[in-house]
């Protein structure tokens, strides 16, 4: 009989059933028995075979400093044209496998950010250029050099102009090389631009102080911090350094019951804003007027002259009052690329006498030097250039209105790209002279006045590449190699500035070992010569819908878009992975009937899914930069939407648009979030208090802890730890939620990438996560964050249910997991109240013998990316559970070291990856049996509580309550 179908849906449903039926038949009883029999027989036959012979190849001549199987650390520097970090590179058996912050540097202070952490994978990027290319065809260095030098000479004879385009360049030796290049080819211009420009700030400082610089902010000295659209904990200028400073005055303890107050004025919910004590939500168009009003209020109170500004909708008197109360102990920062706003902010800081106290103009930060005007001039005179050299930059992607540049590149005689990896610009140029990865290169940096650092190669060039500087040297006809060049430059320029205790040879060796040289720059603060009397504010009108374009914490400017570690790292605020989105407010979503995942069209040009973001300004949409790359490896290609092209270029590049149109489309696009539930459901998962209450009673907000402890009793025998009892304390007041710990944990422990599809199924593998909860008004909520990893419970629910004893308790208090014993019942996962166990649904690491199990959407198991794996941590096969191990490999390593050196372990010697890289010092690991350890002291704090402690799981992770400075 013919089968009729009721509707198109049920028809599709039937077909689907058929497909599933087929799948089911695959393992019926008979097939199972066949496989079983085959398995037995093949085991027997296999066991008769001899094991495959493995080779053991020693060194021919063993280098003195290398011991096979033991790691070495080399000091180096990370600078991607945007952010600087002094780093230590862990090199094991010739492979760099991990990056840590350099604790000798006052900028990184032992910490890193997530981009620096993950940048190590870019070294092993399979899509890197392997050879120089001419017009897309493979070539060799000999030919390409001859051709380029010929053309350069020809241009020189014809007196044509040559442009070197680069991001900010903080390498003294590279600067000198470019100067040498200019000497050889005098028509050369060096044009610097930053994808995320702060030209306005630099120009304002030039007007105020006569120097185009970024001052040295000192967040630790400020009692009141006002951030205006400046995400200084996440992306702005030097976030690691600022976070280190910021938390110094945010942490409270029984001995220090004061903390700074942080007010953030912004449009979109940023990482910094979500940590603020108070958030004032404005539209981008209101910003300058608000600053002017704030200035007027302060000037008025101090009896200074006001400027003309219309009254703003937001009352600034309270804010002004607070700032005035904390004169010379306050700090106002603004992240907008607008000279007038920055001038106003400078004047506010001047009125508050902050210069010399919380802001210093000595030791200025040099990491961003781009001048918008230069680039605007270049873009308008494109035709006059006969040769363009793209020095490790990608303006076709990250500069607005780049169609002009695209056509001009095609028409220019000589175009050269010095990029390491194929990108939108290098694809168009004639000559690609691939540069080394920074871990294969020598370099020097000058990130701050008086601070110099070196970068040294940690591995030989993997491919036939050559570092940018060597190419320029060659084309300038200088025979010197770059290392010698740096040495000579340091000898003549930097060494004389030091106290010269050592001779140059020793100075060089020490600098190379330390990675940094910090020289005190003592000069008086420059005179402030701001004159606001003639300032005329921009005519910004508030419109129905505005757009704010921001830098995302994980992806940054988009240079590392092909890094799957960064793509899979959840956004610190929205927890979205593998996408950017248009953040809209709850009220706006209600008005326009939008839901998370609906695709909208902005200005009729770009289509992008929306995300309903609590705390978003009502009439403003925020979108992150760095997505929508078109020429990039698999992991970054067509992920998200490119919004660089929406940026308007007037006097400065403007990262906000005053008026945009929007239109709802019928499409939807699913966003992969790692946390879809934002409520604590009435439980006190995160406990918080205010500083005033804390001053009265250190137990405030944590009263339940005592009560619950009273009820503790157990049927199980209590564990007794003879030697160590490892534990961790997490200070919720310090944690900013920047995600660096998650990245570091994944890299240290070989945590696999699962890809967007699997994140959508909630199968992400990160061993630790940072939970984010909202409280209060959805239009302006309070945000709390909580890093959650395995709690290493003394009375662990997971241990009791494992049928094979694959997870059990160690004699040092660690909830241990034996992967090769696990049979994948997932009972432990079910019984864990914290949901920190992760199941390998597929073979993500190519560790199974069976090929069909492999699931590797981002090529992480190819030979090259595999080199990044940490050999001291097993890669897990399909069907086993994994979870945080307290970085057991580090514990064992340090224990062994202590035993060998015949001494007790020092407190703080063992640092798990998350603690080591945390810029906020929020995580402390140690031994509870050592009563003097830092973790024991934190455990004695009245703020300490445990997650879901009423369940009597007795976790080894203690949380310290969050304290807000509310008034």
């Amino acid at each position: 009989m013919t089968k009729y179908w009721k509707s198109i849906d049920s028809k599709i449903g039937q077909d689907k059933d058929k497909v599933q039926e087929k799948k089911i038949t695959w393992t019926n009883r008979r097939n199972f028995l066949k496989l079983f029999g085959f398995g037995l027989a093949s085991t027997f036959v296999l066991s008769r075979c001899e094991n495959a012979a493995h080779k053991a190849i020693p060194y021919l001549i063993k280098p003195e400093e290398i011991t096979p199987s033991m790691a070495n650390y080399y000091a180096s520097s990370f600078f991607d044209g945007d952010k600087y970090n002094s780093i230590l590179v862990k090199v094991l058996d010739g492979r760099p496998i991990k990056i840590e912050g350099n604790n000798l540097s006052s900028i990184s202070q032992g910490a890193t950010n997530s981009i620096t952490q993950s940048s190590i994978l870019s070294l092993y990027d399979d899509t890197r250029y392997r050879k120089p290319k001419v017009n897309g065809e493979d070539s060799d260095w000999g030919t390409i050099d001859i051709e380029i030098i010929d053309q350069l000479k020809k241009i020189k004879e014809e007196n044509g102009k040559i442009a070197i385009i680069s991001h900010s360049n903080i390498s003294p030796s590279t600067k000198k090389i470019i100067a040498d290049f200019k000497k050889q080819y005098p028509t050369t211009e060096h044009i610097i631009y930053d994808p995320i420009s702060i030209s306005g700030l630099l120009d304002a400082n030039k007007e105020s102080f006569g120097k185009r610089l970024i001052p040295n902010y000192k967040f630790e000295k400020a009692q009141v911090i006002v951030g205006i659209n400046a995400d200084f904990l996440g992306t702005w200028l030097s976030p690691v350094e600022y976070t280190k400073q910021y938390v110094q005055n945010r942490k409270v303890s029984e001995d220090k019951k004061t903390m700074s107050r942080h007010i953030q004025i912004e449009s979109g919910m940023s990482l910094t804003g979500s940590n603020a004590d108070k958030r004032i939500i404005i539209n981008p168009s209101e910003e300058q007027n608000l600053i002017a009003n704030l200035y007027n209020y302060i000037a008025n109170s101090l009896g200074k002259k006001e400027i003309s500004a219309s009254k703003c909708a937001i009352d600034v008197s309270k804010l002004g009052e607070e700032l005035l109360k904390n004169k010379n102990k306050s700090l106002v920062v603004c992240g907008t690329n607008n000279k007038k706003s920055q001038l106003l902010v400078n004047s506010i800081n001047q009125l508050l006498e902050n210069y010399g106290k919380t802001i210093s103009l000595n030791n200025a930060l040099l990491t961003k030097q781009g001048n918008d005007k230069d680039m605007i001039d270049f873009m308008s005179n494109l035709k006059s250039y006969k040769g363009i050299v793209f020095f490790d930059c990608n303006p076709v992607y990250d500069y607005p209105n780049s169609e002009k540049l695209t056509t001009s590149i095609k028409n220019t005689d000589l175009t050269i790209s010095l990029s390491t990896i194929p990108d939108e610009t290098s694809e168009l140029v004639k000559y690609v002279c691939p540069a080394n990865n920074y871990l294969e290169s020598w370099n020097d940096f000058n990130p701050k006045e008086g601070t110099y650092s070196l970068a040294q190669p940690c591995i030989q060039e993997i491919f036939d590449t050559r570092q940018e500087q060597v190419s320029l040297l060659k084309w300038s006809g200088i025979k010197n190699d770059y290392l010698e060049y740096i040495k000579e430059n340091w000898k003549s320029e930097i060494y004389p500035k030091t106290n010269r205790v050592f001779d140059f040879g020793d100075f060089w060796t020490k600098s190379l070992q330390d990675g940094v040289v910090e020289i005190d720059v003592k000069s008086s603060e420059p005179k402030f010569k701001n004159n606001l009397s003639s300032i005329k504010l921009d005519d910004n009108k508030k419109s129905d819908l505005e757009l704010q374009i921001y830098e995302s914490v994980n992806i940054g400017s988009g240079k590392y878009a092909n890094n799957p570690w960064l793509q899979e790292l959840p956004d610190p605020v929205s927890k979205v992975t593998w996408d950017n989105y248009a953040a809209i407010s709850v009220a706006f979503a209600k008005d326009k009937n939008l839901e998370t995942g609906d695709v909208i069209k902005i200005n009729n040009t770009i289509e992008i899914p929306v995300l309903v973001q609590p705390g978003q300004a009502k009439n403003t949409i925020s979108i992150a930069l760095g997505y929508g790359r078109t020429v990039v490896g698999k992991s970054g290609k067509d992920i998200g939407t490119d919004v660089y092209q929406l940026i308007e270029t007037k006097e400065f590049r403007q990262y906000s648009l005053g008026k945009i149109s929007f239109e709802k489309t019928l499409n939807t696009h699913e966003l992969a979030t790692t946390q879809s539930h934002d409520s604590m459901e009435g439980r006190d998962i995160v406990r918080e208090t205010t500083i005033d209450k804390y001053k009265e009673n250190t137990e405030s907000g944590n009263e339940r802890h005592k009560e619950i402890e009273k009820h503790h009793q157990s049927l199980y025998k209590e564990f007794k730890y003879e030697g160590h009892h490892w534990a961790m304390a997490v200070d919720l007041n310090a944690c900013t939620g920047c995600n660096t710990c998650v990245a570091a944990c994944s890299i240290e422990n070989n945590v696999p990438i699962v890809g967007k599809e699997e994140v959508l199924r909630a199968h992400e593998m990160h061993w630790m996560r940072i939970d984010r909860y909202y409280a209060g008004d959805p239009e302006n909520p309070e945000v709390v964050r909580q890093p959650v990893m395995c709690q290493h419970c003394d009375s662990a629910p997971c241990e009791n249910v494992c049928p094979v004893g694959a997870t059990n308790h160690s004699s040092e208090g660690i909830n241990q997991m034996a992967y090769n014993r696990c049979i994948g019942t997932r009972y432990c996962n079910n019984n864990c109240p914290y949901k920190v166990r992760r199941f390998n649904w597929f073979d993500y690491n190519k560790s199974d013998a069976l090929k069909g199990n492999l699931y590797d959407p981002h090529g992480m198991t190819l030979d090259l990316p595999r080199m990044v794996l940490n050999p001291d941590v097993t890669v897990r096969a399909k069907g086993v559970i994994e979870k945080c191990s307290f970085c057991i490999q580090r514990i064992q390593e340090k224990k062994l070291k202590a035993k060998l050196e015949n001494r007790a372990l020092q407190d703080g010697e063992i640092k798990p990856a998350c603690q080591q890289t945390c810029p906020a010092n929020a995580i402390v690991f140690g031994d509870l049996n050592d009563k003097n350890s830092e973790v024991s002291k934190l455990y004695e704090q009245k703020r300490r509580y445990h997650l879901l402690e009423e369940l009597h799981t007795l976790p080894s992770i203690g949380y310290l309550t969050k304290v807000r400075n509310k008034s």
Binding site: N51, L60, Q816, N902
Partner: protein
């Protein structure tokens, strides 16, 4: 059920047949190979072969080449270079130099061995031509031992016959016989499978031939070189370290001739240094990837003697794996071995209670297991 059992038995049968056919096929193809290489002047090569194996009388016929130089892969240790090694090491010599090396050797060792060799120039050329053929065909393959496999197949056949007779042919009326046969055959089959499965990946006694005939006995026993001299990272690094060639050269810069192998083996190290290639040793001890093992912990902290795990390797010409390196073997030791507690400040300060008991003489020893040696994450992470 019946059908499924049949499929299993069919599968096992097919597999067994396959396993038998496979090696036979290999031998067959080898024969063809030899014939192919024989195409130039096969009678001369035959003569060379006869001379090499001593089938043609020369001198007093007390010696032939094959008695010292292997022509097949063997798993016993032979100091003398195999025919393949000879072929390669003499490939750039002319006939006169070859004859000279054979009859008037420089080293003492060869002079003694070749004392009674009486060959004329023509015969030497024939032998040489024969040796050359090994360069292309390689050493002869060893015969595969099939006894265990034969027993296994026999048991399977026995089981199947009994089963078939029980269900279909019914020739034997007394059913208890079927029962006993099936039970015994199955039990033995299972026992063999279980044993083989346990042994899978374990290689106790594994002693592969190495590219250089390095003898631990000559170095460690005869010449009394300490283990740590070559394996110098054993006490403070994860791996004991295979000595790099420059360590060999510390002595062999001067010592160019050995008592057992003459100059032949030592020359290989010098060649390595010249060609800038490291010797490619065959790895003997290999733990699975999910096991972390550190020599520093055992030899450095635990002060274990090398022979506890490596046996009397210093008395072996051919290094072999002494222990089975199974988890049971590790744990047996962890449960009984006494920790070097007194004197190591790490233990004394970390385990204060035990330390006091040691001081009060209420405790005289602690096993590794008592200080965490049984934790999974001691070795697995």
């Amino acid at each position: 059920m019946k059908r499924s059992l049949k499929t299993i038995s069919k599968l096992i049968l097919i597999l067994s047949i396959f396993a038998i056919i496979l090696p036979i096929k290999n031998f067959a193809s080898d024969d063809i190979n030899i014939e192919n290489h024989d195409k130039h002047n096969s009678s001369d090569l035959k003569m060379g072969e006869r001379l090499f194996f001593g089938l043609i009388l020369t001198g007093d016929n007390t010696i032939n080449c094959a008695s010292c130089h292997n022509t097949a892969v063997v798993d016993t240790f032979n100091w003398n270079p195999s025919v393949l090694e000879l072929a390669f090491s003499t490939q750039y010599m002319d006939s006169a130099a070859f004859a000279n090396a054979l009859l008037n050797p420089v080293t003492n060792r060869i002079s003694v061995a070749h004392e009674n060799v009486k060959l004329n120039a023509e015969q030497i050329v024939l032998i040489r031509n024969y040796i050359e053929t090994y360069k292309t065909k390689g050493l002869d393959k060893p015969k595969i031992l099939v006894t265990k496999l034969v027993i296994f197949i026999f048991l399977v056949v026995l089981f199947l016959t009994a089963f078939i007779d029980l269900t279909f042919t019914k020739k034997i009326k007394f059913k208890a016989i079927h029962g006993i046969v099936i039970f015994l055959a199955l039990a033995f089959i299972l026992k063999m499978i279980v044993h083989s499965a346990i042994g899978l990946g374990r290689s106790e006694g594994y002693a592969p031939l190495q590219p250089i005939k390095f003898s631990h006995q000559v170095h460690a026993t005869d010449n009394k070189i300490d283990c740590i001299y070559c394996h110098h990272t054993a006490e403070n690094a994860k791996s004991a370290g295979i000595p790099s060639t420059n360590v060999c050269l510390n002595c062999h810069e001067l010592v160019r001739e050995g008592t057992n192998s003459g100059r032949f083996e030592i020359k290989k190290i010098l060649a390595n240094t010249e060609n800038k290639t490291a010797p490619e040793w065959i790895r003997i001890h290999k733990l699975p990837d999910h096991v972390f093992f550190s020599h520093a912990q055992h030899a450095g902290v635990g002060k274990l003697d090398c022979k506890e795990c490596h046996g009397l390797i210093e008395e072996e010409h051919l290094a072999s794996q002494y222990a089975d390196l199974s988890m049971g073997w590790c744990l047996d030791c962890h449960r009984t071995r006494k920790v070097n507690f007194p004197g190591n400040e790490y233990y004394e300060k970390t385990f204060e209670e035990y330390h006091n008991q040691f001081k009060n003489k209420t405790l005289d020893s602690l096993t590794v297991a008592q200080v965490g040696g049984e934790n999974c994450m001691k070795c697995h992470y």
